[in-house]
Amino acid sequence: MAPTMISPDYYLMLSLALFTIGVIGVLTRRNVIIILMSIELILNAVNINLVAFSRLWGDVNGQVFAIFIITDAAAEAAVGLGIILAFFRNRETLLADEMDLLKW
Amino acid sequence: MSQLIPPAIIPYVMPLVYAVVIVAVLPLMAGYIVLLERKVMADMQARLGPMRVGPHGLLQPIADAVKLLLKEDIIPNDADRFMFYVAPLVSVTMALLAYAAMPFGPAFQIADLNVGLLFILAVSSLGIYGIVLGGWASNSHYSLLGALRSAAQLVSYETAAGLGLVSALLLAGSLSMKDIVQAQADQGVWFILVAPIGFFVYLVGSIAETNRAPFDLPEAESELVAGYMTEYSGFRWSLYFLAEYANMIIVAGIATTLFLGGWLRPFPRLHQHLIGTSLELLDALPSLIFIAIALYCFRLAPRQPVRIQKLVMAAAGGLCLLLAGAMAGSLFASPAVMQGVHGGFWFMVKVMAYLYAFLWIRFTFPRYRFDQLMRLGWRFLIPLALVNVMGVGTAIVLQQLWGWDPRGAELVTLAATIGVALLLAHEDEKPASQPLAEGE
């Protein structure tokens, strides 16, 4: 069966849209948990890009790289949330504006 | 069949037919499994169980369903309405979605995915959200605590159960459910005989996955009220309930497919023929089983106290005789029909046996406390599952690369795994025997 794929442009545009939304989320929200979730969104956008090109080139390396990115995202989310919990216990706040301990 | 429907749309029509059959039959089956559970519980407690609603309580599930549908729908005051509506739907949807990849027989499968087993595991892990969001949306401390505990338990035992499945996957060599059963047919042995520890790990893991006793702390009645289901009443509660029993059938189906040979009969490669014909002796087993049940029903029928119960027992006996006839008759039909009918029969028998094991374990063991539960999961079951995977892998390497005899390799690694399991169990006992409140 001949391989079929709609033009990779579609996937590139989708990936770009998700990436931009993720960047807006990181830069504009105050709540650190939503900032972390927006970072996950950015990583997903990159994954879509990788898998689309892996399909185009018929190469499985793109998918392997995407698996490593997912693994990395898991580790980062775990540590990030641990830090947020520890910070929350000390300062009772979840807002990025108020996490300014280094300021005097 | 292909004369009634144009062949071009068969791949689209048959899955739809199967899906409709499953969605229509499943709530009824879940209801009757509840009745079965109550009857088995009664039998183990030397009493009779529901006998009033319909002869032998056979209409009890219908009465329960009608009651649940007519109950008032209460939503707590400050509950998050959207989540409250959506949470039971998520549970039920994920439970039903898993049936898409489950093979009920050689011909009855909605979709034979290449990654069917992983798909079912993935969808089961999505069912956690139904619990967590439901507990959250109820805006009540008990619900939230019960939901978090239940989710923690589910996540822990999901890992253990998955690792238990990996040991059977090593032997099967493919993730497609059909291929796994085919591998058992090719090797002529059910994988439970080759990887029994994997089956044990999966059994314990699946009991915890479905929140059944002895792991039902999050939803037991004497604990956190009813855990995450506390604030749900009427139809919403029955959706959670349906999700739980549908999940039970799914894990039984996975265990059957991976460990118990799926739709294969016992000794699938033993072809002892009836002298002079092409019928195999072992293929007469379904009919013999049904005839035995029918004789038992006929023996019990005269002893029933009430006339309607006598009639129903006799009718059950008659039904079993009819089914025995159908099983025997299908032997003379085309091989595809015979495979389908007998395959379906063996699959249902094995699923029922696994569910019976669930019920039996429920009414035998006391409930685990939550910290004991988590310790069992993380400190006994997951190391045991990992060692088991290593053991099965070693057995395969010994047999393929170094040419050992397959049974010998498996026995040696099984002995090693059991040794490790005993070590783990012994090491685990010491902290629990110390008094709990010790300055912490």
């Binding site: 079929t4 545009m13 504009t28 698996i67 949330l81 | 989540m83 992983l118």
Partner: protein, 166 residues
């Protein structure tokens, strides 16, 4: 035609859920919308014949990472956070910069299409899981081991960070 419809369904679901995620006031609703985005992404992976990645995305991302997020959100739940200002005071500049970044990348795509040679679609092995497994355990063995050590370190770090000091 059919694949276009499927793609548009998943793409619109992903983008709409992402926008909802970034704009909600209630953190749990944001988490649920991120879950829907991730599921739509998994659908895109399935459409791209990456069936192993499809299930890995669901098991790991939705069934693991998002459960972690939901747990932490429930543990640090602040009722008062629903009434605070959600967007910080650099939102207009940041939003504009993000859109400019997006526009730049978009222009790069359009310009690059004319410059670079358009690749020909090649076929991929139908046994996707076996191929990924082969690649992971032969060519990518070292990154695989490093990733497992990374996960171990992250596990220890998360436990240490989140433990209560007695």
């Amino acid at each position: 035609m059919f694949s276009h419809t499927v793609f548009y369904f998943f793409a619109l679901l992903a983008v709409a859920s992402a926008i909802m995620m970034v704009t909600r006031r209630n953190i749990i609703h944001s988490a649920v919308y991120l879950i829907t985005t991730l599921l739509a992404t998994a659908g895109i992976f399935l459409q791209l014949d990456a069936e192993f990645l499809f299930v890995v995305q669901i098991i790991l991302y939705v069934g693991g990472i998002m459960v972690l997020f939901v747990f932490v959100i429930m543990l640090v739940n602040l009722d008062v956070s629903l009434r605070l200002v959600q967007f910080n005071h650099q939102r207009f500049v940041a939003g504009a910069l993000a859109l400019i970044l997006g526009g730049q990348v978009f222009i790069a795509f359009r310009v690059g299409r004319g410059v670079l040679p358009h690749p020909v679609l090649r076929s991929m092995s139908p046994k996707n899981t076996e191929a990924v497994g082969d690649a992971l355990f032969t060519h990518y063995m070292l990154p695989f081991e490093i990733a497992s050590i990374l996960l171990l370190v992250a596990m220890i770090g998360a436990v240490v960070m989140a433990k209560r000091r007695v």
